[in-house]
Each structure stands twice: as structure tokens, then as C-alpha cells.
Symmetry: C2
């Protein structure tokens, strides 16, 4: 298993990215290819020990800036992102991981790896582990402006992903909106609700889901445009971070609270791990013919290591190929394929 990592992409690259990659390559059978400026990468590795054969450096002179327009990134073949994506295209690596410019990543993946048949817009899907089980949310940032047909494609892809990668036998699909009634929402969600209702039984469509219940029990797959999905995810993350910081402050106020915190250490450790967003760093790009894992721009070493694990699992379960198979043909054929799959 060889996974290409864009060493220069992300707010904390190359330091944190390289550190996460070094951690990941200590896993048995895992090879990591770091793509970027060799000197900078070597400096970041420093004196850390790792199995020599598990880490390789492939040089790329240029980098894609976080604010660069995706179109300009497509015209530059020597950026670390473009070289990393090309390693997958050429079959040298099985997956690519980047915390860099996600628009550029999606653009390069779409053009160099090609889209799955019938997919107009690839989508970024995140798996959120909640007390009620894992939830898939897509799109969370690849497509800021969408048409209803795109959201229907996201629903198909999310359904197959939840069924095949998360082993949920008949995933329930919900539509992110701002009211549970079909009449509530934007022009986009109202039109999408209508389309999904028509093919609802095949996709197990359960209607609108609101932001406060998106991670609760009603749906396994939450479908949205990339703008709303990104806001949903980041607002939840931001609130979790703020509350955890407030709790830390409350627990370290004086000797008495510190003593109580010590008594609670086991329960609090478990509680924190339930809401720890760093532990599931990577999100999959669905709808392209290749395994691409998109990381948060602010990813640290732990999130990068986790993203490499996400990429590995995706390759092992062949979920990207299965989505491409399920998407084959027109939307109608897709629907039929998904339905048969669901009845197996």
C-alpha cells in the first residue's frame, strides 16, 4: 500500500504534514510518498526514526497557495499537489492525501483522474462518528454552488458509501435544510426535496434534516451543497473547540477543581475522545476514479496520520470503485443499481 502525501499543502505544512506522514509509515505494510521540496521535507523529518523502506521523497519544486484559484493550479504540472495526484494517475500510488487548497485538489483530481461515469460534480464526504453511530455528510466544501441534480448525485454516492464502507445495510438519506417540512428551505433544497421524494424509496429518503439534529439519529447520510455543508461542519467544530477550552479553564481554576478533575480523569478522557475532531482528519472525495483524501487546512500531525489511515481503509474496501460502478450509466440506471444493491 503506497500513499502519496502532498507535503507542502496546508496551513501547517510542511512541518505537521511530514510529522504525520512519518507516524503513519510506521504502520506495518504502509508506504508513504512525500511530495515536495526535498530539503524542506528532510529538515522536518530531522532525527525521527522510521522504517527506511516505508518513506520516500518525490521532488516537486512548486506549491499551490491556499488562495490560488483552482484554474491556475491546473496549469502548473510541477506543484507538489499536481505531482502527488499524478502518482495515482500513473498507478505508482493507490491514494493521495492533501491538506492544501481543496478547490485545486478537486480540480486536479477531476481532470487527471477523471470523474466516475454519470457524476457531474465530485463531492467531499466526511464521516462524523457520533454517539448514535457514524454519519456521512456531503458535500462539505467542494461545490459552493450546486444544482438540484448535483445534490441527487451526492445522495446516490453517500448511500453507496454508507452501505459499502460503513456497513449500514439500508442507509437513511436526509437533506440539510432549515425546517423539517418540505415547504421550508431555499429554492435549491425545495427542488431537491421534490427530486429525492420521487426516487425516495430507492434511496431511503427520510426528508429534511436541520443543523441541530444533523448528527443525531434520523439519517445516516446528510446531503447538502458544499457551502452549507462546510458551514455545518465548521460551526460544530468551532463550538466543540470553544466548549472544550471553557471546560479546561473551569477544571484548572484552583486546587479544588484540579483535584476534582484528577478524580474525573478516566471519565473525562472518554468524554473528550467522543468529541475529538482531530482523530478523524480526512474526508474522501467521491465521484472521481481514484482515492483522494482531503484534509482540513489547519490539520496537525495527528489529523494527517489519521487521514492516511482513512485513505488506506478506502483502498482496502474498494469503496471508490464501488461508487464508480454504482454511478455507471444515467441517473435512472444509477437509481436502479442502488436499489438492487439495497435489496441484496
Amino acid at each position: 500500500m503506497r500513499i502519496a502525501v502532498d507535503a507542502m499543502g496546508g496551513d501547517r505544512a510542511p512541518g505537521e504534514v511530514v510529522s504525520g506522514a512519518v507516524t503513519a509509515c510506521t504502520q506495518p505494510g504502509q508506504q508513504v510518498v512525500l511530495v515536495g521540496q526535498p530539503d524542506a521535507i528532510r529538515e522536518c523529518i530531522g532525527h525521527r526514526s522510521y522504517p527506511r523502506e516505508a518513506l520516500e521523497i518525490v521532488p516537486a519544486e512548486e506549491t499551490v497557495g491556499m488562495g490560488d484559484p483552482p484554474a491556475s493550479a491546473l496549469r502548473r504540472p510541477r506543484t507538489s499537489l499536481a505531482v502527488a495526484v499524478n502518482l495515482v494517475r500513473e498507478g505508482d500510488c493507490q491514494a493521495v492525501v492533501s491538506a492544501g487548497n481543496s478547490g485545486a485538489f478537486m480540480g486536479l483530481a477531476t481532470v487527471r483522474l477523471d470523474r466516475a461515469p454519470g457524476v457531474e460534480r465530485p463531492a467531499i464526504a466526511i464521516v462524523v462518528p457520533t454517539p448514535a453511530g457514524p454519519r456521512v455528510v456531503l458535500d462539505v466544501g467542494a461545490n459552493a454552488t450546486c444544482k438540484p441534480e448535483h445534490l441527487v448525485q451526492f445522495a446516490h454516492m453517500g448511500y453507496v458509501y454508507a452501505r459499502n464502507a460503513l456497513a449500514i445495510p439500508r442507509p437513511r438519506v436526509g437533506l440539510l435544510s432549515i425546517g423539517e417540512e418540505a415547504s421550508k428551505g431555499s429554492e435549491l433544497t425545495k427542488a431537491t426535496h421534490k427530486l429525492l421524494s420521487e426516487i425516495g424509496a430507492e434511496l431511503n429518503f427520510v426528508g429534511n434534516i436541520e443543523g441541530d439534529t444533523a448528527f443525531e439519529g434520523r439519517a445516516d447520510v446528510v446531503v447538502c451543497d458544499g457551502f452549507s455543508g462546510n458551514v455545518l461542519l465548521k460551526a460544530a467544530e468551532g463550538m466543540a473547540g470553544a466548549i472544550m477550552a471553557g471546560l479546561r479553564e473551569a477544571l484548572t481554576r484552583d486546587w479544588r477543581t484540579k483535584l476534582a478533575a484528577w478524580m474525573l480523569r478516566g471519565a473525562l478522557r472518554e468524554f473528550r475522545s467522543n468529541f475529538d475532531y482531530a482523530s478523524y482528519g480526512g474526508t474522501l472525495l467521491l465521484g472521481v476514479k481514484g482515492t483522494c483524501v482531503v484534509c482540513h487546512g489547519r490539520s496537525g500531525a495527528r489529523a494527517i496520520a489519521s487521514a492516511i489511515a482513512v485513505a488506506r481503509r478506502a483502498v482496502e474496501t474498494r469503496v471508490i470503485d464501488q461508487i464508480a460502478d454504482a454511478c455507471a450509466g444515467t441517473a435512472k440506471q444509477e437509481a436502479a443499481a442502488v436499489s438492487q444493491g439495497g435489496e441484496r
Copy 2:
């Protein structure tokens, strides 16, 4: 101070709404007018004690359902919501509070109370108290689909609101998007970014704000379309609720954690109140000529009492009139008025 309350609006009406109104009317100088079915209201009041002159019931036979299209609510003058809004129109009450159908509320307020001059779309503004100070977010649900010009009007209204009602001398205005760079976001946010940049100095425009930092330090006013704003707010609320539930579970696991929780009770109480969304129930509708407070559909008694307090403060500070004054004339005249105000 007389405030009309739609007793029949909301998921938990009339019980919780009436209960919150009874609590509010015990405040000195506060009169509450409950609008709805008198028998149902009297049953909910039950044997609770309150100053007789502070609570009045105005009958309305019909109710607006949570899923009713706003247009149908406009054609029915005898709903509790329509009668309550009319009490403000006729000058009998100074403000109206409802936890009912927010689209219908906005429609009725716009038509019966009229819009402030120059405002095409009224917006729902929420004040979120954060450790870094209060933040205004608008729109959070009135306008699911917006044009860039609407967002610029929201920016003007939010600026005046933060300056006059929250006493922030020169509020910083940010635009909710999915990347800090001007090139990131939807077609709507990119066009709005351009417009706000042109008049940026007058509005103290600080650029894009992301979902995870919306409640942090960079901006005092966060501008967004009603769909994204609703998702932002509800995702943050939902995450806060889930974490608090998880913490409660961790603290009540066994005798040892219960003892530790008892030792922490003071610190935890303060911590919880920082993230308690029920304590600031009401959101103001900006851009209409009248004080309208929109509550969350799931509001309980405490949120309703808090919303009545929000309405009272808004009337006392005359913020709605001041926004109408600032909005007077065209967008250009508005900008000039805001700018002069900011330099005082």
C-alpha cells in the same frame, strides 16, 4: 411597556409559551398580552400567581401551523400571530414575540408593519454572547435565498444594531464564507465580498469569516444568507447540546464522579451559563417598522421569558427606529449616514 405574545405559536405552545409569559409579567412595569384561545391559555396559567394587571388575554380563534406556507398565513386575519402583530400596528403594544412559523411571522410583519425605507428584505438577527463579547449574526432564517444587495443591507442593519444596541463603537463586519480568501465561497458570497469591499471603510468590513471562527474575535457582525445562518446557528446549538449531554453522563457515572462533580459545582455552573442557548431565546427582526422578536420553534418557558426581555430592551433602546433612520434613503445615503454615525 406592553408586549404581545403569540400564545399558540411554537412546538411547545401554548404550555411553555404561557409559562414564560407569566414569568415575564412579574417584572416591574411589564405588561404581557397573550394572544390565542382563551380557554387553552387559562388552563395553561392554572394556579400560578402573578400581578393581575400585568397579564391580559386577547382572543384569536385560529392558529398558523409550523408548516403552513407564509402566503396562506397572510390571508387569515384571525390567527393568533396576525392578531398579535396587529396589536403593534395599532399602537396597543410596543412589541410582538412569537415562537411560531418564522416565515409567516416575517411575512405578516413586513406587510402589516411595513419595511424600513430602503430595505428590500427584513432579516432575523441573533446576538450570541461569546467569551470574546457579543456577536451579531444575520440573517439566521428569514431569507433562505438572497441576492448580494440583500446581504449588503444586512451588513448596514447589523452595523447599526451592534453600534446602538450593543454599544460597540465601531463594529467590525465579516461575511460568512468557506475560506478566508476573497476568491473562496459561493457566487453569492464572492459578489457580496466585492460590494462590501467597495464600501468597506464605512462599514469596517474585515472580509470573510468561516464557520469555526464566526463566534471568535475577528468580527462583531457576521453577515450571511438566511439558509447558511440558520445552519451555522443550529449546528453550534446542536453540538453544544450533544457535548453538554455527554458531560452530564460522564459526571454522573458513579459515586466518585458524582463527588467530583459536587466539588466542581460552582465552576461548572459558570461554565454552563457561558454556553447556555436557552438564556438568550429571542432574535430581532431588523428592517421592519416595529419591534418583532422571533423565537426558536422549540422554545421553552425560559427562552420565551428571555425573548420578552429582549423585546423590552429593544423598545427601551429604540434600536428599531434607529435602524429605520439609518436605512432611510438609498443605499448610498445609507452608507453616508452609517459612516457619519461611526465617526461621532
